[in-house]
């Protein structure tokens, strides 16, 4: 559990300090980590708020960026959906990438116990909030140089997240399509360029990987 917890340390610090740099009041900076509890979605929110995106774009983008959590629930569904609501709700709230990885992922024959899921998830939650707080404190003490070029920080961060995710030709082509479409649609000032470009890339990748499987 500890290595997983430590692996989110830089993300927590980044999410916390970026919230301060984006000009959020303290309660919102803490609230993002304490209520959303989703690193990538938090950074996306801050990036969009900074670039002046409208509320609908922010809501739709965060919805789609966290849809991969729907997948995380699938292998746990058989086991968790039989539990009482008082167990399902906390497990749902705590279902992060890390808990998904610990719960055994797709290969899990024997699901982890309820108490294990809630304890491990709760542990990650506490770590995440503490790391975010550390980032918030650091950002308020360090002179706010980054505020002027927060967009650069966002680009550098997102690229660093995306590159290791591109592990196949189908994902590469999907990302390239999303990039080209997002630029072209933004150039023509199309409403919802971001969501259209992102979804097009997703389905393009999915279609390509299906074809690849059929061809084998």
């Amino acid at each position: 559990m500890f290595p997983f917890c430590l692996s989110v340390l830089p993300w927590g610090i980044l999410a916390g300090s970026m919230a301060v740099q984006a000009g959020l009041p303290l309660w919102q900076s803490i609230g993002l980590s304490a209520l959303m509890f989703a690193g990538a979605a938090q950074l996306v929110t801050l990036g969009l708020v900074m670039s002046g995106a409208n509320v609908v774009t922010i809501l739709i983008t965060v919805f789609f960026i966290t849809t991969q959590h729907i997948i995380y629930a699938l292998p746990l569904r058989n086991y968790v959906s039989r539990l009482a609501l008082r167990y399902r709700l906390p497990i749902g709230f705590l279902l992060t990438d890390e808990l998904f990885a610990l719960s055994g992922g797709k290969s899990a024959q024997q699901p982890r116990s309820v108490s294990y899921l809630i304890a491990a998830g709760g542990f990650f939650y506490v770590c995440w909030v503490i790391f975010s707080l550390a980032g918030i404190v650091m950002a308020t003490r360090i002179p706010d140089l980054a505020r002027y070029h927060l967009d650069l920080l966002i680009i550098a961060t997102f690229i660093t997240i995306v590159v290791p995710m591109v592990r196949s030709i189908s994902s590469l082509l999907g990302v390239v399509l999303s990039l080209a479409l997002s630029m072209a649609l933004a150039y023509f000032h199309v409403e919802g360029a971001l969501v259209i470009a992102g979804l097009s890339g997703m389905f393009f990748s999915a279609l390509l990987s299906r074809r690849g499987e059929e061809g084998l």
Binding site: L14, M36, A40, L74, F158, P164, V166, Y187, L194, M202
Partner: protein
Amino acid sequence: MSGALLFALAGIVFFNRYLFLEPRLPIRLPALVQQALKYSAPCLLTAICGPMILMDHGIVRPIRDNPYLWGALFSVIIAFFIRNVLLAVVLSLIFFALLLSL
């Protein structure tokens, strides 16, 4: 950003996490949708970066003299070789800073 937006976003994240833990939900996702969702993070994050690199408040940046473009390319190369997230981000930012100071 408003407090209402923050709560709405928290609600959306929880909805997505909880959706398939709900026993009364009979829906099965089509295979294509399930596969597409696996690609949501890389494609959406890229789609956020694209316009930021290309444009500045609705105006296209000059191609050769665009530190965002060269900085982004450098970030891709760095991220490819250095898998330590924090180190990769810091190196990219140093490169961005150098470009901007030129």
